[in-house]
Amino acid sequence: MADVSVEIMKKNNLNSEDITFLVPHQANMRIIEAVGRRMGLDKERIMINIQKYGNTTNGTIPLCLKDYEKQMKKGDNIVLAAFGGGFTWGSVYLKWAYDTN
């Protein structure tokens, strides 16, 4: 999860400063923090809500997007990252498309 998150930054010429938020699958606080560290992101730029909902498997990423929706602006660079059973893992780079008032 950390490897592909760093890889997708390199592939798209993104530095740590260019990323507004990392949206990690919420499985474990230590994994979340480790991915953030590898990407050079401080905790303020990592979406975290595991304390409230635990690991909801397929729900974690949209639950994060909703909780942090108001903090995202149109054009923000967002990286989604997940790791889980299978094993399956991956990262997605997207540009957020709207402002929320």
């Binding site: 474990n28 595991i50 397929n58 990423i61 949209p62 909703k66 990252a81 997940a82 059973g85």
Partner: protein, 217 residues
């Protein structure tokens, strides 16, 4: 003609009412409020209660909210993908059931199963339909009733998981926003580490599998 990008244009969620605290788990298994909190960072999780309630109940509520928020009629939806490891039943796809509950009638729908990576895999799958120009309004809903496959006598797993659903709407745009890139990989060698032993075609349910508690994570 400029390239069509697929952008998330709305997100809505549904969480069941019941909140299971670390304090309550302390009463259920041999663990402590502090151990859970320091080891996992988790303080509470939501649990779907009620006879006959399943993943599609949470998912359809999230999808309804999504449509209301955007003022989109269910008839306008072209495709709905549900990603879950706790489908309502083995078949049909939970996506079909959600579509029925929401009144989505002019769409096709199916499930994707890829454990915890299911949402990002589904998002990118859906984005390809939108980028093709053939589909204008696509919903991806990630939902799980993990409490249905969690053994609440196993202190290792029962403190970690919760129930919930989240849905996004994907729409085409020619602006420089939306899904840009992805890197995905999977390796089935890892299946031994996190799986549900029984209930599938290899080991259909029997009294023995139930007694051996093999229908849990």
């Amino acid at each position: 003609m400029s390239k069509i990008n697929a952008a998330i244009t709305a997100v809505e969620i549904n969480l069941p009412d019941y909140v299971l605290t670390n304090k309550e788990l302390e009463q259920m298994v041999d663990t402590s409020e502090e151990w859970i909190s320091t080891r996992t960072g988790i303080k509470t999780r939501h649990i779907l209660k009620g006879e006959g309630m399943g993943t599609s109940d949470m998912a359809s509520k999230a999808v309804k909210k999504l449509l209301e928020k955007k003022g989109v009629s269910p008839d306008e939806i072209d495709l709905l993908i549900c990603t879950t490891v706790t489908p309502d039943m083995q078949f049909p796809a939970t996506a079909n059931i959600i579509s029925d509950k929401v009144g989505i009638k002019n769409a096709f729908s199916y499930d994707i199963s890829a454990a915890c990576s299911g949402f990002i895999y589904s998002l990118v799958t859906a984005s390809k339909f939108v980028e093709s120009g053939q589909y204008k309004k696509v919903i991806v809903v990630g939902a799980d009733k993990m409490s249905s496959i969690i053994d609440y006598t196993d202190r290792q797993t029962c403190v970690i998981f919760g129930d919930g659903a989240g849905a996004v709407l994907l729409e085409p745009t020619t602006e420089d926003v939306g899904i840009k890139d992805h890197i995905f990989q999977s390796d089935g060698f890892g299946r031994v580490h996190l799986h549900m032993k029984a209930g599938g075609s290899v080991k259909p349910p029997t009294y023995e599998t139930i007694d051996a508690r093999e229908h849990y994570v």
